[in-house]
Symmetry: C2
Subunit: 395 residues, 2 copies
Amino acid sequence: MVYEATTSAPVNIACIKYWGKRDTKLILPTNSSLSVTLDQDHLRSTTTSRVDASFEEGDKLWLNGKEDVIKDGGRLWVCIKEMRAWRKELEEKDSSLPPLSSWPLRIASYNNFPTAAGLASSASGLACLVASLSKLYELPQTPSQLSLIARQGSGSACRSLFGGFVAWREGSDPSGNDSLAEEVAPRDHWPEMHALICVVSDAKKGTSSTSGMQRTVETSSLLKNRLEVVPERMEAISQAIKSKDFEQFAKITMIDSNSFHAVCLDTSPPIFYLNDVSRAIIALVEELNRASGKNIAAYTFDAGPNAVIYALEENMPVIIGAVKKYFPTTEEFEDPFKTQTNDLPEGFDVRVVREGGWEKGAVKGLIHTRVGDGPRTLGKEESLLNEQGVPKTLA
Amino acid sequence: MVYEATTSAPVNIACIKYWGKRDTKLILPTNSSLSVTLDQDHLRSTTTSRVDASFEEGDKLWLNGKEDVIKDGGRLWVCIKEMRAWRKELEEKDSSLPPLSSWPLRIASYNNFPTAAGLASSASGLACLVASLSKLYELPQTPSQLSLIARQGSGSACRSLFGGFVAWREGSDPSGNDSLAEEVAPRDHWPEMHALICVVSDAKKGTSSTSGMQRTVETSSLLKNRLEVVPERMEAISQAIKSKDFEQFAKITMIDSNSFHAVCLDTSPPIFYLNDVSRAIIALVEELNRASGKNIAAYTFDAGPNAVIYALEENMPVIIGAVKKYFPTTEEFEDPFKTQTNDLPEGFDVRVVREGGWEKGAVKGLIHTRVGDGPRTLGKEESLLNEQGVPKTLA
């Protein structure tokens, strides 16, 4: 009997940003956040977990084929420990269950997007680990309950346990038990929500989000005000999603991205994630919206120079056309939706972008995706482990 | 009898930034600000004003040899009108005075620094106009009283009526009569305060400060908090100046520059003045300070990408050495102080700057100057006007 589960989990990109912890150990945030889950058809982490009484040398984990140390007390270790504890509870209640919680684990995880793409792989990766162990251990916990564990692995991972539009409630309990993710709306509510990821080159490695956000908490005087305005934004964007009001959704998304980068700049020493290419993409989107007479696109930037542009499917032709025109990419762009590009809207002021556009490769590549579903359970044939419990890619 | 006065006035660069008006007509700011006046030996505006009963076609003004229209109700017009009114008061009290207030004006103004240098020429220019008219009209008003008029020409011009370290008090009276400049400390109190201006190229013309600051007032939610913290900063930096505490002066100057650019970013649509080269200069200064174990340099940025680095004279060798090393300029650097450059401090982490430094011309040129005095009265031989009351450069 092989006890194994393989799952995949999605990437999520926040519209209301998570920046700052009130408890660094439990990963409790200073504010609620909200994200769109992206389609696993395009971007995903896949994880296989197996337990076997005969495995030696304790638990082992491989990330993209490379063995990773599960450091005692570290974030991976905490997630595994908590999931095992829930399994143990089940076993204690029902002695007929096999004692999986006491057997060593073999875990292999793989991201189908390059780390160099600058997408936060820790969110999908940690969510996938938790989803996979939950399946393996046949746990009764809901996705929201599982999100409590994923959160401790990597804050924003908690939001990748749901599809659609997802809120991470900051909570107030010091234990962290109310700091969890929940669905605001499923993907089917607004499937027209598409996203274009612009992968921007940056010569310099930026400040890690873990250290950066704590420096903001310690030194920014403007953060206090950001924390005061986020609750209204959470409420307003949830309403915009429920009523499928893209205009409003876009407005809040852009304002909150700018507010997040503003408090980064207000940090000592200041933190910069946006570079000149990021600024140029912002200018392009602002001008597309102005020339269109309404918000047809919304940019948002995480802790790096990459832009994510949210737009309704119907407006992607003009957006992709504009981005391709001014930012010729080095990587071939394979659009899974085969979007036909449109010309710039009438009245578009070309002065906002560089004469002749940017040099090739300022934007390395584009990824066109859309709102997606939550973690998926995959079949045996998709297992990442071979018979010996070692990643197939290594065998 | 020729009634004429020639004066020069200095540039000032704020450490606590002016950003936002509570009254756009009277130019009343949303917060107090504080600046260092720079030495007129290096950067100055010069203005000659003359009145003559025989001048025809009313008042005329030339800026850098080009005639400028004095628009009715415009800012130049307001300054001239107010100065003339003060002169008229004098004449009404003393009928032996020649009726200069009723005679047409000829005004010529000249900046010894190129507009392309990106330095705010309106501050020194408007201060110089007011100083020149005050001299011509032999007004008894103090520099603080004159600053009320210069303020209405260009907000920060009020600070150029003093040398040394200057505060512009926001005031509270709706008339604006308490929104004036005053000296915090004269130049002689801390003559070791030097400044290095790094003139940074920018492909794109940024948002004008006049329109930008009002967009911030209307749309930034973080501005409210900035306005709450500025009073403490004003107090703290004034203390630092009085006690010649460069460490503290630098800390507050950098924090306030970053806070100002943060509220620009928090504006809708966002305003960016810092570009990648500005960011690189910030990184260089932060690393110089870290490696030195104390703040030896303080960057500050106005509404553009140019950096002004404040430092004590004794630390300029290492700062100029570092800037020249990583930012080779296109323009020859003529240092009036003949500063010998020093190597980087021990422990300087070269990873913070680009491998091999930036391409030549990323920083176009450097200007080394220091704290300076207030407006100067110049001799007849420095008049910008010929006998006919036309700029000599045109004759």
